[in-house]
């Protein structure tokens, strides 16, 4: 089966510019996650979707970050405006279902550099 697809793989922008990341999860996976990973650190959860519903966005900085998952499939994570501290890798992951967190399948990530 095809894996989780993310784009772009790399993005360099000036501070205060907007940026968007796109994720296509594995077909049939109802749960979709966005994680942020700083250099040398583990992933930190930003938002989790069950189908099209954002069921946990408590760690998403809502003043500048937004996300959507239209039709419960693809998802977009947006930052507007970007700050220097947003430089990180943004990882998307998906999993099969709701009951008992099982294996997550990750994309390759989108590496953001804010200048």
């Amino acid at each position: 089966e095809a894996g989780v697809v993310q784009s772009p793989r790399y993005k360099i922008i000036e501070k205060k510019q907007p940026v968007a990341f796109w994720c296509n999860p594995i077909s049939g996976h109802n749960t979709l996650y966005w994680y942020l990973q700083n250099l040398g650190q583990g992933p930190e959860l930003l938002i989790r979707y069950e189908n099209e519903e954002a069921v946990d966005d408590s760690q998403l900085p809502k003043d500048r970050f937004s996300a959507e998952r239209l039709k419960g499939v693809d998802s977009t994570l947006k930052i507007q405006p970007a700050e220097l501290g947003d430089s990180a890798v943004y990882l998307c992951a998906s999993s099969r279902g709701l009951a008992n967190t099982g294996e997550l399948f990750f994309g390759e990530g989108s590496r953001l550099t804010v200048l």
């Binding site: 583990g42 959860l45 294996e103 990750f106």
Partner: protein, 112 residues
């Protein structure tokens, strides 16, 4: 904040040796998972151990779980240069939320 912490932060061994990484966590869990991440790549799931299990094997991997100490260990036997990567433990909490919380990772280097 991250739920788990791995120890050591970095580990360097010779090919053929065993590598042991430890993970400690803070709250009661439903399960604990280990993931691997090659440099510049996404994370790959290695193994899942449930809270009612004490030990699990998969190929050259052996995972133990001690819920009384809130700790887990990952043993990689007969290491290979291709095992060089960062390894993360991740916990699925017992109470509410279907989220996975990752630790800080152990960077393993296997020298050929």
């Amino acid at each position: 904040s991250q739920q788990g912490e791995e120890d050591p932060q970095a580990l360097s061994i010779q090919e053929g040796e065993n590598a042991t990484m430890n993970c400690s966590y803070k709250t009661s869990i439903n399960n604990l998972q280990w993931y691997r991440q090659n440099s510049g790549r996404g994370l790959v799931h290695l193994i899942l151990i449930r809270s009612n299990e004490r030990e699990k094997h998969s190929g050259r991997l052996r995972v133990t779980l001690d819920t009384s100490k809130k700790s887990s260990s990952l043993l990689i036997t007969a290491s290979r240069a291709a095992d060089t990567a960062s390894y993360f433990c991740a916990t699925a909490l017992l109470a509410g939320a279907n989220n996975l919380f990752f630790g800080t990772g152990t960077r393993l280097t296997v020298i050929p």
